[in-house]
């Protein structure tokens, strides 16, 4: 079914300050291969694996992880996309409603070993929302979490099972995962950058930064 994505105005980059790349395409792919090995090592019945990506950033990561798992085990795990927006704990206190993203869960999660895949985890609130959303799709045997980046500042008792890289950050900084090349000349598809925000209010732009919401 066609999406209405085409209606969306192109995202306007907030005024950016300093920016440094902390993970480039090669290191992201290496991290995802290592994580695939760790998943195989820690889960007995690989047929029960069900990768659930948290959009937007989790989707390309989960796809890559699924390919890696298939090449290691010969089985492609199930792959779903789960938007957590309607389960957020800050909807009542925000003035603006965040845009919804798509949810595509191909089957129930009953009895499966669910692996949530997120790009950047910080406070843990998105993972909390994702667990609530997940329970509406059944009763998984277990839930584990993959984060490409763990930037600390946890506010809830959430544990990350598989981490690409720990990147300690200052409150004024944001961590952004990009799955599209920034310019045509670059063939580096994936990267993670740390931005130190120029304006103190630019971090509140709701259409920006998957990172802030993590």
């Amino acid at each position: 079914m066609g999406g209405l994505e085409s209606f969306k105005p192109a995202p306007v980059d907030a005024e950016q300050g300093e920016e440094r790349v902390v993970l480039d395409d090669t290191s992201i792919h290496r991290a995802l291969m290592r994580i695939a090995h760790e998943i195989v090592e820690s889960n007995a019945d690989l047929k029960l694996l069900y990768l659930v990506a948290i959009p937007n950033g989790g989707v390309p990561l989960a796809r890559r992880l699924a390919q890696n798992l298939e090449s290691l085990t010969g089985n492609a795990p199930r792959l779903g996309i789960l938007d957590t927006t309607l389960y957020r704990d800050d909807l009542a206190t925000r003035g603006t409603r965040p845009r919804l993203r798509r949810t595509e869960m191909p089957s129930s999660v009953d009895q499966s070993l669910v692996i949530l895949v997120e790009d950047v985890v910080s406070t843990g609130r998105t993972i909390r929302a994702a667990m609530d959303a997940l329970m509406d799709f059944g009763r998984p045997q277990s839930v584990q979490v993959v984060a490409l980046v763990d930037r600390g500042h946890r506010e809830l008792p959430i544990k990350i099972d598989y981490v690409g890289k720990n990147i300690p950050t200052q409150p004024g900084e944001s961590v952004v995962f990009r799955s599209e090349p920034q310019d045509e000349s670059s063939d580096e598809a994936l990267e993670v950058v740390v931005q130190s925000l120029a304006g103190s209010d630019s971090g509140l732009n709701p259409s920006q930064g998957v990172g802030e919401l993590a």
């Binding site: 209405l4 105005p9 003035g95 919804l100």
Partner: protein, 310 residues
């Protein structure tokens, strides 16, 4: 994003309409789950304030609110007890004292939702007022067309029936023209409003000419109370001239879809066959209505700081 109230399509710009449609598209997925409920509006109260009976629209709003976990209360008032303007606003104030998070208003008089919005703190959604507007019907129609055709811009839409007295027609004219479609209206001369061209549409008294090459045919319900009211000679004549059947539909594009806001007077606006089968998409319209109203409640209801919106 879309403002405090939704009183009509006339005041919505293209960007807001697209935000609502995009949000509704995401809401459709919830209707496909086993557990058709998300906790988004938990603890919020949505009041259906219907001064005119409408089982379909009221039920659609009720299901939409419940799927978002809101408490939905139906406050139905018979029109007879509200003949005085004073008591109308008293009702609204009484309601306001109960702290609802959104109020859905349907009334036979144009402008009542606006009057109620003026005195209420809670956001108001117009569920149809007189011959003025029926914005949620138009939005669900736009969603249905978008999903059938993949676009709205550049399509031709013919609206057939009692255009002059139809809030559905008016809201759809605003909506479809704003999204870049060509809109035509057709009906007996007594049912076409004077100077309808100021709304950016072309009026036809020949069904054949109106249907020529259109992508979407929207038939309006002939209101029973207007039957025999002098604006057209007989139901039979209306049906033979403007009632749609497969033969007349051949004037439209071969892939044209047929829509109707319901309930259909079978054999009057649509033949029995068309009322039930493709290319009519009437049940999709109903299904989309729930997702569309969920989107509106999500965007409008239960925000503590609506003043931050703009």
């Amino acid at each position: 994003m879309i403002g405090q109230d939704l009183l009509g399509i006339e005041s919505l710009d293209r960007e807001r309409i697209e935000l609502i449609l995009e949000t509704a598209e995401k809401m459709q997925e919830i209707g496909t789950r086993d557990v058709k409920k998300v906790p988004t509006l938990r603890g919020r109260t949505v009041v259906n304030l219907f001064f005119e009976p409408s089982t379909r629209t009221q039920t659609s709003f009720e299901i939409a609110g419940k799927r978002l976990a809101a408490d939905v209360v139906n406050f139905s008032v018979s029109s007879s007890s509200l003949s005085k303007a004073e008591s109308l606003l008293d009702t609204a104030k009484t309601l306001d004292a109960m702290d609802p998070d959104a109020v859905i208003v349907r009334h036979k008089v144009a402008g009542v939702p606006q009057r109620i919005a003026d005195v209420l703190d809670a956001p108001v959604i117009n569920a149809g007022d007189g011959a003025h507007e029926h914005p949620t019907q138009a939005l669900l129609d736009m969603l249905t067309v978008y999903q059938e055709k993949g676009r709205i811009e550049g399509l031709s839409v013919a609206i057939i029936g009692d255009i002059a007295h139809s809030r559905v027609a008016r809201s759809n004219i605003y909506g479809f023209t704003r999204l870049g479609a060509e809109v035509r209206v057709a009906g007996p001369p007594t049912m076409l409003p004077p100077q309808v061209d100021v709304l950016g549409v072309k009026a036809y008294t020949s069904l054949r000419e109106a249907l020529d090459g259109v992508d979407v045919v929207m038939a309006l319900r002939i209101q029973n109370e207007r039957l025999g009211g002098g604006i057209f000679p007989s139901v039979r004549e209306y049906s033979s001239t403007f009632g749609l059947d497969r033969a007349k539909l051949r004037f439209a594009r071969p892939d044209a879809i047929v829509m109707h806001p319901g309930p259909v007077n079978r054999g009057v606006e649509l033949s029995h066959d068309l009322a039930d089968h493709r290319p009519s998409v009437i049940l999709d319209q109903v299904r989309n209505g729930v997702a569309l109203r969920m989107a509106l409640l999500y965007l409008i209801a239960g925000r503590d700081f609506p003043q931050d919106q703009e």
